[in-house]
């Protein structure tokens, strides 16, 4: 990080890491003892991964924070004794200024994650990405110019299926992926390492707005399928009906989609758990059933070990469609980001940058964009294609709550929770999420008085979420001079009301399940332990004080024949262009209210088969 303030930045970050981490320090050295230089190193690595337009402001705010100590008592923050530093950090955390709160929250999240992700032997645990597996068809040293019949940009669920079926139909396909080609088991699922290896911007992606929504995108071969939980739903029939009516999408009845759903489900082994679900997952289910609410077990794309126990292999794209693609003779180019595309005669010219080898050009008569709901519109807009592109981004805003039960509900190998409460779907859905000690500690950041709880009682605690189908429409824009896309998402008052309602109902179900304490993801939110206390929850989520996230993004280039609102036709071809197609979550006309990967895969399959049939 060679910039003129690098030493000052390092010192401020180090002092912050020590201040924030020492609150968690408990007896066991591996658990949280000084030194905390591994935390500082992680934060510095993450800074380099921040979206480029955030790096400058983050540096300025951090140095400002350090200098603010001068104004208070004549010394910069980092030179002061720990107790004084703790007070300044608290003051900023509770500041009335949003940027001050966000700054401290950012550092506390990173420090907490790194602290709770420590390996038993922390000092030697330097993260090293394993080398890419050698495979036929993987271009490690591409030339400066590449040609192919079809270029597919993005290797997530949409791109992998598209590329696979095209290659199996005998087309000469080049699949281009910005991220690295890593084996599924290059890191533990939902770990800090995974975040560093496979998430875009190291997981530091944010939809801007008065209430920010943190989101996550995969950035590796296999895309989102490599990092998500693998929960599967078909697109609900009423959602398909809505898309057909409102967006004039042809060929989208349930009957027309069924063969595509079925084919994808076979390929990725969609199945239910052979044995018992994790206890934390069952808790929510019990609570919902006690209240008479509908709750179900969502199936996953997972090949379970025979003999139960829930072990097995998640059927991600690198386990399914991508090996098929490579054996059909497809070529895969990882580590290459497509910067722009333009028409050159009857060819598309893609200008790309390879991580190791620099600029390269790819020519293809046909292009499929499958880079996801943020990157596809960003690429199009960079290329000057803007009509109905990136104007209607949707997502499933999600608020979380940590629950503590009187008895153990959590284990270190808990696996993925599978129950979802669908009583209020599609408006609200509830579920249990990843509850490793690190994720629990992150959830407890809003409750500083109970900070040590996650290390003491993590086995009795779990994370739960309430997710809404929102009415807000976000945007994806490319700022001039910057590389990373700016995502904005202005939650409406209705959305905030629904989120508050969702949080309230989720808490109700958890109390019905016997939870003894609830810690909602609201800045300095109340700690709840009885139905009576639910009154303390707001009925409208306060702006800027709720900590929202999402892992579902879509609808940034909706499909359909309604030219006023749609970017692509009913089968993904961009309106006004020949041989330029979209095949990812961007096409979904609106939020489906369920995990979207099933919809993305079925639509991609439907569209690519149609493309092949039409010649």
């Amino acid at each position: 990080m060679p910039h003129p303030f690098s030493d000052s930045y390092h010192d401020a970050v180090s002092a912050l890491a020590y201040t924030l981490a020492s609150r968690h320090a408990v007896g066991d050295p591996a658990d949280g003892q000084a030194p905390f230089n591994d935390l500082t190193a992680f934060i510095l690595r993450q800074r380099a991964r921040l979206p480029d337009y955030l790096r400058g402001p983050m540096l300025a705010a951090t140095l400002g924070f350090d200098l603010a100590g001068l104004a208070r008592n004549g010394h910069r923050f980092h030179t002061q004794p720990p107790a004084v530093r703790r007070r300044q950090a608290e003051a900023w955390k509770n500041s009335k200024f949003g940027f001050a709160r966000d700054l401290l929250r950012y550092y506390e999240s990173l420090a907490t994650l790194a602290l709770y992700s420590r390996e038993p032997s922390p000092v030697s645990a330097v993260p090293v990405a394993p080398p890419a597996p050698p495979a036929n068809g993987v271009l490690v040293e591409p030339g400066r110019e590449l040609r192919c019949e079809v270029a597919v940009v993005g290797s997530g669920p949409g791109g992998a299926i598209t590329a696979c079926l095209l290659a199996e139909a005998g087309r000469d396909v080049l699949l281009i992926e910005e991220g690295p080609f890593l084996p599924l088991h290059s890191c533990r699922s939902f770990s800090q390492q995974e975040m560093e290896q496979k998430y875009r911007n190291g997981g530091q992606t944010i939809a801007m707005g008065r209430t920010k929504v943190a989101y996550v995108e995969g950035c590796c071969v296999g895309g989102g399928s490599e990092i998500n939980s693998g929960l599967y739903h078909r697109t609900p029939p009423e959602v398909l009906e809505h898309w057909r009516q409102e967006f004039q999408v042809a060929g989208l009845t349930e009957a027309e989609l069924r063969p595509h759903f079925e084919a994808c489900e076979r390929e990725v082994s969609v199945s239910t758990l052979p044995g018992a679900a994790p206890a934390a997952s069952l808790k929510l289910h019990e609570g919902a059933v006690r209240l008479g609410w509908k709750s179900l077990e969502a199936p996953r794309w997972f090949r379970y070990d025979t003999g139960g126990g829930g072990g097995g292999i998640r059927q991600t794209m690198t386990q399914t469609y991508l090996p098929r693609f490579l054996s059909a003779g497809g070529r895969l180019l990882p580590d290459a980001r497509v910067d722009r595309l333009r028409k050159e005669g009857d060819q598309w010219l893609l200008r790309a940058t390879h991580r190791a080898h620099g600029a390269l050009e790819i020519r293809a008569p046909t292009v499929f964009l499958c880079a996801g709901a943020v990157q596809t519109p960003a690429l199009l807009r960079r290329s000057g294609i803007t009509r109905n592109i990136g104007d209607t981004l949707q997502l499933h805003p999600t608020v979380k709550v940590v629950a503590r039960f009187p008895e153990p509900v959590n284990t270190l190998d808990m696996g993925v929770p599978v129950h979802q409460v669908k009583e209020f779907a599609p408006r609200l859905s509830f579920g249990c999420s990843i509850s490793s000690p690190a994720y629990l500690a992150l959830g407890m950041i809003d409750h500083p008085a109970s900070a040590g709880e996650a290390s003491r009682s993590w086995d009795r605690m779990a994370n739960y979420y309430a997710m809404i189908t929102a009415e807000a429409r976000g945007s994806v824009r490319q700022l001039p001079g910057f590389q990373h896309a700016l995502v904005r998402y202005p939650l409406t008052a209705n959305d905030r009301r629904n989120l508050a309602d969702g949080l309230h109902k989720l808490c109700e179900a958890l109390l019905a399940a016997g939870a003894e304490a609830l810690f909602p993801g609201l800045n300095h939110g109340p700690r709840l332990s009885s139905l009576d206390e639910l009154r303390k929850l707001p009925t409208l989520l306060p702006e800027g004080l709720a900590n929202l996230m999402t892992i579902h993004l879509f609808s940034s280039c909706p499909m359909g024949e309604d030219l006023a609102r749609c970017a692509a036709d009913s089968y993904g071809r961009l309106h006004g262009f020949d041989n330029l197609y979209i095949g990812d979550a961007s096409l979904l006309c609106t939020a489906p209210g369920v995990n979207p990967q099933g919809s993305i895969m079925a639509l991609a399959r439907r569209n690519v088969l149609r493309f092949l049939k039409s010649g």
Binding site: D11, A15, Y18, A34, P35, N37, T79, Q80, V123, S124
Partner: protein, 354 residues
């Protein structure tokens, strides 16, 4: 004790504070650590001494010890020192910390170490254990900070830069697979055999002139010389230490006040010295001024020991030895009071007037 294809051990700086104690430990064993208590019977020791250093004391210790005269700055001397040492273990403890001229830092600490390593590589020496310092990482950025192996380089002036360049030269040769290396980073060390500058420090404490800059609550890690010898011997034998760097010090850092108070207490209660119970208290500004002055002098190529030491007096220089404990099995048994007691007793035995 030194399991290798060879029973040959090479030691540079064998007449120095650390080197002479290391030679004793190699020949007599280190009772503090069970795995090091027994010396290796057939050990053959070769020591490098500067021309003119008095080797008679060392030669008296054992007949298994040969002394080579030579200067690290001369490649031919290094060549001679390493000749026929295939499979040997090399301890590089020589270095210069308070030179007359800044350029000496680089001539001895960087060029000298490189000459030595290259000669060792040509001779087929198995492993080099190299003594560095805290100085490549400078001073801690905040008062509760502890250095560990994650800490980035931020060398403190020319000494720190020279030790950093030495570490880089060592690591580069290890990474090319030319030789096994282990780097140890001890901060301020203490113990028997101490040089006159350390005795002066005791005298200043007795006379009420121990300088305390700022509050005196700043932490300093110190390495008792036997703890450091223990780490050196462990680093020579540990399989996984190859290519690693370890911070080596006593189990915990001490505040400046604790260091001075401890010595004062021992002087008075156990060694019969009447102490004035005063401190030379200086504002932090004194260190800040000294630091500027030191930097200015060093930029002109001059080095002044007292100004340099004063510039560091109010700084925190503290480290964690967790990695050495985990990976080397390092057990620093001696702490401040016991270590200082040994130092004072040694002064008495040597009839050194405090």
């Amino acid at each position: 004790m030194i399991p290798s294809q060879s029973n040959q051990v090479l030691v540079t700086g064998a007449f120095g504070w650390l080197g002479s104690r290391l030679v004793e430990a190699l020949l007599a064993g280190l009772p503090d650590h069970e795995s090091l208590a027994e010396p290796q019977a057939d050990l053959r020791l070769r020591c490098l001494a500067l021309p003119g250093q008095d080797a008679s004391a060392l030669r008296r210790v054992s007949d298994r010890l040969e002394v080579f005269e030579g200067d690290l700055q001369n490649p031919a001397d290094c060549e001679r020192f390493c000749r026929d040492a295939r499979g040997a273990t090399l301890f590089h403890t020589a270095g210069i910390i308070h030179p007359a001229r800044v350029a000496d830092f680089y001539r001895v600490n960087v060029a000298g170490a490189s000459n030595l390593l290259d000669a060792a590589i040509r001779a087929g020496v198995r492993r080099a254990v190299v003594v560095s310092s805290n100085s490549p990482c400078g001073c801690n950025p905040h008062p509760d900070h502890l250095f560990d192996e994650w800490s980035p380089y931020r060398p403190y002036m020319n000494y720190g830069r020279s030790k950093m360049l030495m570490e880089l030269a060592v690591r580069e040769r290890q990474q090319r697979g030319l030789i096994e290396t282990v780097i140890l980073r001890p901060p301020w060390f203490y113990g028997p055999n101490q040089p006159p500058r350390q005795t002066l420090f005791f005298r200043m404490i007795r006379d009420g002139k121990a300088p305390i800059v700022g509050s005196g609550r700043n932490l300093r890690s110190m390495a008792y010389i036997d703890n450091l010898c223990q780490a050196l011997l462990l680093a020579a034998t540990s399989e996984r230490a190859n290519g690693q760097t370890y911070w080596i010090a006593d189990r915990r850092p001490y505040s400046m006040n604790e260091i001075v108070d401890t010595v004062e207490r021992l002087l008075e209660r156990e060694f019969g010295h009447k102490c004035l119970h005063k401190r030379l208290r200086l504002p932090s500004l004194a260190s800040a001024v000294a630091m500027r002055l030191d930097a200015a002098l060093q930029s002109l190529g001059w080095y002044h020991q007292k100004i340099h030491v004063l510039s560091e007096m109010n700084q925190t220089i503290a480290c964690s030895v967790a990695k050495a404990e985990q990976e080397l099995g390092y057990r620093p048994t001696v702490e401040l009071e016991e270590g200082m007691r040994s130092s004072l007793a040694w002064c008495v035995r040597q009839r050194i007037r405090i």
